[in-house]
Symmetry: C2
Subunit: 201 residues, 2 copies
């Protein structure tokens, strides 16, 4: 799940270093897609990108730092200006996510770790969710104005929208055969937008 203008702050880097970093992130994405969260070791990424593990550590000091950078990069790629983001595009994002379980798994595992004491991904996720809730409120306001059909304000519906996306990912990752994530998400959009008696089918 990714959307919005979330970005990690970065110290200035040389052009060569920026380029190398981008290569490493692409390689990590590939390794994640092929081998999942546990398979995405620093050793596997170093090998893919033609660096020694020592050389990789120069760019990313830990596996967590590397994965946080990948998630931040994905947020960049998936993002569109919040003013152009619409609810039906979120729907497409969920469909897209259902085709890349490795990334969703990595996101979900890292989110789980991030709530523990002093975890290196904690700050990233805390800031990310603050930004994502604000973006989702904007999206909901663009569709519904100051009140959703249920009477909720966009600010009160936003955390629910985000929670459903995240929560469905866990259920889907554990049982992809019995949880149809995109269909469930569309059901939630129905719930947000429709009144009683309107079928979601």
């Amino acid at each position: 799940m990714s959307y919005g203008d979330v970005m990690t702050s970065k110290a200035p880097r040389s052009a060569r270093s920026v380029e190398r970093r981008a290569e490493i992130l692409r390689a990590t994405l590939e390794v994640i897609a092929e081998r999942g969260y546990r398979g995405a070791s620093l050793a596997a990424v170093a090998e893919r990108v033609g660096l020694t593990q020592q050389g990789l550590l120069h760019h990313f000091p830990t596996k967590e730092a590397l994965l946080v950078a990948v998630m931040a990069e994905r947020d960049q790629w998936d993002a569109m200006p919040a003013t152009r983001l619409r609810l039906d595009l979120l729907d497409q994002l969920v469909e897209y996510n259902a085709m890349r379980p490795g990334i969703v798994q990595t996101f979900s595992a890292l989110l789980g770790e991030s709530v523990t004491e002093g975890h290196p991904a904690r700050e990233f996720f805390t800031e990310r969710y603050e930004a994502v809730r604000a973006n989702m409120a904007q999206v909901l306001r663009a569709d519904y104005g100051e009140r959703l059909p249920s009477g909720l304000t966009p600010e009160r519906a936003a955390p629910l929208l985000v929670a459903v996306m995240d929560g469905l990912q866990y259920q889907w990752l554990l049982a992809p055969e019995s949880v149809d994530m995109p269909a469930a998400f569309r059901d939630f959009l129905t719930l947000l937008g429709e009144g009683p008696g309107v079928s979601g089918g």
Copy 2:
């Protein structure tokens, strides 16, 4: 988050061993409440219960096995017969969870780990969610019959109910000052039950 009749299968054990196990689980709960997920080490639990770490390993071979047993035990304690469970009691469960961040943190961290390849908690969570979705469908059916006001069936609304509870926990753990978990969950119940124009305030 816990509800329903979820239970891990257990091999027969002697009365002494069953008693010792229960003591260990109680001690683990205390350690979790005081020190959180990372602080709940096998060493800390062994010390609390007056066992050597070797002695503890006799009952629970890994930290993951111990924590899964604690979560299964919590499900037992929090559970009520699905026939007596009601939506408004879920609301109370969320309020109760908001007063025990250590447990919620442990649950959320373990859920995150469980989606990775071959994790020892994966089977527990997969079975748990299957049972929890079925229970929630029963609860929704008891309140709404075959169709919710939105037109969704209980079976289609159940995964959304579970997803919102889990997803809100992550947002709340990361930013307890800015996410009011019980209020957000009540907003979701409003969404489930109310039609357009009805204020959730």
